[in-house]
Symmetry: C2
Subunit: 360 residues, 2 copies
Amino acid sequence: MDKYYLKVAMRNAEKSRGKCSPNPFVGATIVKDGKIVGEGNTQPYGQDHAEIVALKEAKEQAQDATLYVTMEPCCHYGKTPPCTDAIIKAGIKRVVVGILDPNPDVSGKGVQTLKDAGIEVSVGYIEEEIQEQLEYYLCCIDKKRPFVIWKTALTLDGRYAASDGSSKWISNSSSRKFVHRIRSQVDVVLAGVNSVNMDDAMLNARGFKNINQPLRVVLDPNLQINMQSALVKSAKDFPTLIMYHSADHETMMRLKDMGVELQQVEGKDDTLNLDAVLEAIYQRNLNSILLETGNKLSESFWQHNLIDKCYIFYGNKILGGDKCSLRNIDRGGINKAVELSKIRFRRLGDNVMVVGYPQY
Amino acid sequence: MDKYYLKVAMRNAEKSRGKCSPNPFVGATIVKDGKIVGEGNTQPYGQDHAEIVALKEAKEQAQDATLYVTMEPCCHYGKTPPCTDAIIKAGIKRVVVGILDPNPDVSGKGVQTLKDAGIEVSVGYIEEEIQEQLEYYLCCIDKKRPFVIWKTALTLDGRYAASDGSSKWISNSSSRKFVHRIRSQVDVVLAGVNSVNMDDAMLNARGFKNINQPLRVVLDPNLQINMQSALVKSAKDFPTLIMYHSADHETMMRLKDMGVELQQVEGKDDTLNLDAVLEAIYQRNLNSILLETGNKLSESFWQHNLIDKCYIFYGNKILGGDKCSLRNIDRGGINKAVELSKIRFRRLGDNVMVVGYPQY
């Protein structure tokens, strides 16, 4: 039953996906005498962690109950007091932890604190699933940069556009709806200035109620964004950050007036240093980035082995022509190809989506 | 129940797929008092049609029974006497026909013959499924050329090979096994001479017991095939036809000695006229062709809108580089892309197969 209640906790956690960054979205379930008496998920940054929400629901029923939590409870003062204190005080008898928190401030210390208080603690259940659920957070701890997701829509023969440049729409409306859901679950949607200027892309999340909006980040080395673009014009409604390396004062002033935030990062000519871009996003405590980049910028991320996860949507079309995806990354031989681990497929009407994790 | 028994007949028909060309693989079921008393499928060319097999099994139980047959019974003397005669003689009371036979020698006349003999005839059940089952045969009647199937294995980014030319293996063993099944179900497997010389492809069907072998056809305009290739060396074991337009006498003699059949067709320089190629195969009463062509020859078939059905196998690989599938067919704009009708997906381990019918 431990696995079952942890899966309930995972489901609770899912409710906070994209809503509590930079905190990981954790879920908790409190069970007493075979009955769930409290459930919780991480609240927005600065508010209650999942364990606290569940304890508040359980009230005095927490006494001698078992707490299931997807990730190790914190034992340090962050924006909120340590969860371990609250768990001990509530009289919890046993704690089942999915995975340890790799954050060096916690990392086993949370479990030790509970054990020292005489609580029985079990660690390590459905770890692979929980690690996948918390992949954004775990990447930040591990690689000290945000988790990078590449999304592309290709024809069946692997084109990202027709030879005349047209690409609306390669994928169908179900695929596009799916992309909007992904946008609502990440902290950042990132594109290059060319995509914004050519496609007039909004890069926000649409089509769902009460949808979470990502920060829109545009890489625009020399501030050449179209002032009349839908993105710039909507900057007061949807958070918008443009990263550049050199720009004239007047353009900067105009963009700021329109509500755009600007950040200078290292770069040269018409490119920005991608490590610097990721570092800047990481410093903002943003965990995850969805790349809505055109082919050229996508190639740069691939060339630097920066893609952590791919979503490829295949539209029902054969186009031919030379707008071939990722032409300029060249792995040389079949034995040097990048494979995707945990590859999954999903049919979306007459489209198919492929999801996986590149293994470099 | 009519649909049910016709589906049983369709299942029977499937047993003859690839085994009775140029006859269509038809299935029959005879039902009396709610019990199946006879079943049949088309036997190899020159032998019994499905109806006759079923009647022979049913014997005297055919009296007053219902015959279900996927396609209209023949009413003319071909290699065998008319099935309609046998049906009438057996005392069948009712005949349920899936689809009419578009062959002008039959085409409604079979049904009329039965009706004239006082048999109740119903026509037109699960037509779409039966039409798909008999697509090879129906294409031959309709277009007066064999049904052309294009198969390709692509990386997730749409490459047919790495930049160093390596392509073994883009797809996994499940995908390759699936291809061998398709090979066993078509009359012809066709490749260009370059594929044979470079990949030393055998083009036969392997990996299943009692497997049907297609005719191997190689397009080799100037007879440049490697005499030491596995294909040439196995020509006495597996039927092999090379089509060419010009050749020297000695090469021809050597190939013939090795068991290769040669056929001259119209062509120029290093190409053959594809219409002439298809016509030559059609004249041999061969219904279906699986293209195992390299990218260049595949492009030619696509350019002439000659592909009737596609099987695309996506291997779990990202390669980059410029070996992009179908680069030289260029549909120009997204609104001119070729779409596939009846598109289907099938997961094969970490590969996904896409099947559909190009709509030009």
